[in-house]
């Protein structure tokens, strides 16, 4: 594997301009100061209760995501490029979803095979011909971006269902500003704190036509045991909206109400952090106790907006992902600004053959997987692991895609033995309202804390960093 591009010290080892001030500052710091601040940060995180839950670990109902105190910095120019690409991509995603659930021009044009949509378990036939307010499907997108060279950014994944992590983007910044005020004094870092405002105004702008002048927004959470519960309560608080669970809502005559101490109160927009499968036991999983019976019926009647819309999973399906460059071209007639990682679709015979022959070089992912589960990282796996995965792949080729092992860029990170390069990715959050798309300058940088590891997922031991966009 090629040597990874380092964000601070470019390919020739020279300091890259965006990192100049940081590098000087790091050199002035006494050696144990970073470790001291790291401990301080951890204490703050624990005290504030910024935790997440890991499923399947009995003792770990709540864990901290490790926080690295060295920020990741992008220049204003780099960001402008990314921002353009993100807006373009999300615009296309929304048009694609509208098309798939209506006239299906893209299927008729044979750009995407029919069965990839219709056989897909995340495709929601309930949404066929169903209009959603203002044609917005993906109100909140978290697009995962990796970098492999000075100008090479790739989209790794389009999270179009209920992307999480934005609370870390906001809290990481707060904590950094508290711990390193003089570092901020040396930089002009674009603020991220207006994200909740931007989110609320996007959500309000897509209220159904029947809503009152001041639409009521609520955030629907599965509850305190959900891994992202902290984020849900944090966002509800920042948005100033009620954090509701399924049992707080009731549907009457196709309208949604919340139970309050003053009786029932109508809800117009629901930012739901609950997957499609669970939102309404009458339509989807009957065993779900998290959802609201009748919610889909109200949604169909157009009295409530769900953000994100039902059925958006089809757009972040990893097999559909491989068609994204064509999707952008088809709807916008533009060249995609952000590249896709080259992807082999195991459902296609030739691709499968290639993948089976190169398992030890590739990353193979489940089409519907997330959170770093159910994947094979060829170069980091044993022979036995590869063979076990081969069997799975042959049995269900449609369930997998494969990509080359990318040399994700690295960023200096505080480790036990001082600063060392660690691989990072970036998840910016793209908001789509009635008539505009907003990206707050920044995002969540995830960092693989183990030396050489490419797995940045928090569920797999990855950490996070504050992400700075320099305002030049």
């Amino acid at each position: 594997m090629a040597v990874a591009f380092d964000e601070m010290n470019g390919p020739d080892g020279s300091l890259r301009p965006a990192y100049e001030a940081l590098s000087h500052w790091l050199k002035e710091m006494p050696p144990d100061a970073l470790e001291y601040r790291r401990q301080e940060a951890e204490l703050l995180f624990r005290r504030i209760g910024i935790t997440f839950a890991v499923y399947g670990e009995a003792d770990a109902q709540e864990r901290l995501i490790p926080f690295d105190v060295v920020p990741r910095i992008l220049s204003g120019k780099e960001w402008t490029h990314l921002e353009k690409g993100l807006k373009q991509r999300v615009k296309a995603l929304n048009m694609f979803l509208r098309d798939i659930y209506h006239s299906r021009d893209i299927l008729r044009a044979k750009i995407i095979p029919d069965d990839l949509i219709f056989q897909n378990p995340v495709f929601r036939p309930e949404m066929n011909g169903q209009d959603v307010p203002h044609d917005v499907y993906v109100h909140i997108a978290g697009i995962d971006i990796v970098r492999v060279g000075p100008d090479d950014f790739y989209v790794l994944e389009d999270n179009a269902r209920t992307p999480s992590g934005v609370s870390y983007m906001l809290e990481n910044r707060e904590i950094m500003m508290r711990l390193f005020p003089d570092l901020f004094a040396r930089h002009r870092v674009a603020p991220v704190e207006n994200y909740p405002d931007a989110l609320l105004s996007a959500l309000r702008s897509v209220a159904p036509h029947t809503a009152a002048a001041e639409p009521t927004v609520a955030l629907l959470t599965p509850g305190v045991y959900n891994s992202a519960y902290y984020e849900h309560s944090f966002l509800a608080d920042k948005l100033g909206v009620e954090l509701v669970e399924g049992r707080d809502l009731i549907v009457k005559s196709d309208e949604v109400f919340m139970r309050t101490t003053e009786g029932l109160k109508r809800v117009d927009v629901i930012y739901r952090r609950l997957d499609d499968d669970f939102i309404d036991p009458l339509t989807f999983r009957p065993d779900s106790v998290l959802g609201v019976p009748g919610l889909m019926s109200a949604y169909m009647a157009g009295t409530v907006t769900l953000a994100n819309a039902v059925g958006t999973g089809i757009a972040d399906d990893k097999a559909v992902y491989s068609y994204m460059p064509d999707v952008v071209k088809f709807y916008l007639g533009e060249e995609p600004i952000l590249k896709n990682v080259p992807t082999w679709r195991c459902r296609e015979k030739d691709d499968l053959g290639h993948v089976l022959d190169h398992l030890d070089e590739l990353v193979v992912k489940e089409v519907h997987g997330s959170g770093g589960y159910g994947m094979l990282i060829g170069p980091a796996s044993t022979k036995a692991q590869i063979e076990a995965f081969r069997a799975k792949l042959i049995q269900d080729p449609e369930g997998f895609i494969a990509q080359p092992t990318l040399a994700l860029s690295t960023c200096p990170t505080a480790t036990q033995s001082g600063l060392a390069p660690r691989h990072v990715d970036l998840r910016p959050f793209v908001l789509t309202g009635r008539d505009h798309v907003t990206v707050v300058p920044g995002g969540l940088t995830r960092v693989a804390l183990k030396e050489g590891s490419l797995v940045v997922n928090s569920s797999q031991g990855g950490g996070t960093k504050d992400t700075w966009i320099l305002d030049e």
């Binding site: 005290r47 504030i48 209760g49 509850g223 519960y229 509800a236 139970r259 101490t261």
Partner: protein, 314 residues
């Protein structure tokens, strides 16, 4: 406000209040048992502590006998006792987590900090009386900080009023229970008044509601059983008296009623109890039967809890 949020706030305040009350009960019992037997008689103070907390049945399912070790463990740490101090703090934290948006950061910090300390310092219980004293102080300080931060930082809106309702309802229940368990000691004719035995038992009642000094300020007399009952039931200046709790319950319910422009059965029921307390005299209460009076107070109080739940919380 969401009904569930109001319910969580209401119970959160109850759990914190209950934890403090249990800590006080243990502390008062410790003091009583430290006295030579000639002062406290042959009563088993630990048994009486269990009864005061109203959890004797559950205890005897696990332990054959009530002694210091088993009772302290059961009241303070036992996972099998649903209202042990540990369970109260854990439940309070869980409730806080689900209503974080309704709490101020100081309140959250207090509960979350206490929960962390509980896990880190008190996970294994206590090994000595010194430890126990530290633990009890920790619980009382948590409650003080929580109450204080609520008082100082919360907006005076329904979130505040519902949490105050929980606090005063729980407090009234605790005071009534103490009186009920000790009522036989409060009967004036039973023992020869002023003997060391009942003197120290009465002190322990007052200590468990932290009203010993208050007694002397109010009555400027030696301890007299009917005055103790008067203080804990009818004296509105004592924050833990039934009268004071009901004054607060009525006030908070009225504030909710005004904010929502609607009164209901909860307001009427609370006002009814307060009016009765206002017009009672301690002599009449003794005449009518102290035990009966307290029993009625406990069930009236439970009833108010049910009515509040029905009117607002579900």
């Amino acid at each position: 406000m969401l009904s569930r949020t109001a319910e969580n706030l209401f119970w959160l305040a109850r759990y914190v209040e209950r934890a403090e009350y249990l800590a006080r009960t243990i502390e008062a019992t410790l003091r009583a048992t430290a006295l030579p037997a000639t002062y406290v008689g042959k009563t088993n103070e630990w048994e009486s502590a269990l009864l005061t907390a109203g959890i004797g049945d559950g205890f005897y399912k696990i332990h054959p006998e009530a002694d210091e070790r088993s009772v302290v463990d059961y009241l303070a740490f036992s996972p099998e006792n649903p209202s042990s101090i540990r369970n109260c703090i854990e439940a309070a934290r869980l409730n806080s987590r689900s209503v974080r948006t309704a709490l101020t950061s100081e309140m959250w910090d207090t509960i979350n900090g206490a929960w962390i300390e509980l896990q880190q310092v008190w996970q294994g219980g206590v090994r000595s009386r010194e430890d126990l004293t530290k633990f009890l102080r920790f619980v009382q300080e948590t409650s003080l900080r929580f109450d204080g931060s609520a008082y100082r930082t919360m907006l005076r809106n329904d979130a505040y009023w519902f949490s105050r309702l929980g606090l005063h309802l729980e407090r009234a229940d605790n005071t009534a229970r103490i009186l009920d368990v000790k009522y036989h000691m409060l009967l004036p004719e039973k023992e020869h008044v002023g003997g060391p035995l009942d003197y120290y038992q009465w002190t322990s009642i007052l200590r468990s509601v932290s009203a010993l000094t208050a007694y002397h300020w109010v009555y400027r007399e030696t301890l007299k059983p009917w005055l103790i009952a008067d203080l804990l039931i009818l004296n509105e200046t004592l924050p833990r008296s039934l009268s004071s709790c009901y004054g607060n319950l009525v006030r908070n319910l009225d504030q909710i009623g005004v904010a929502y422009s609607r009164q209901g059965p909860a307001q009427r029921h609370a006002r009814g109890i307060r009016n009765r307390l206002e017009h009672s005299h301690i002599d009449d209460i003794f005449q009518h039967g102290l035990h009966e009076f307290i029993q009625e107070a406990i069930s009236d109080n439970n009833r108010l809890g049910e009515i509040i739940a029905k009117q607002y919380l579900i």
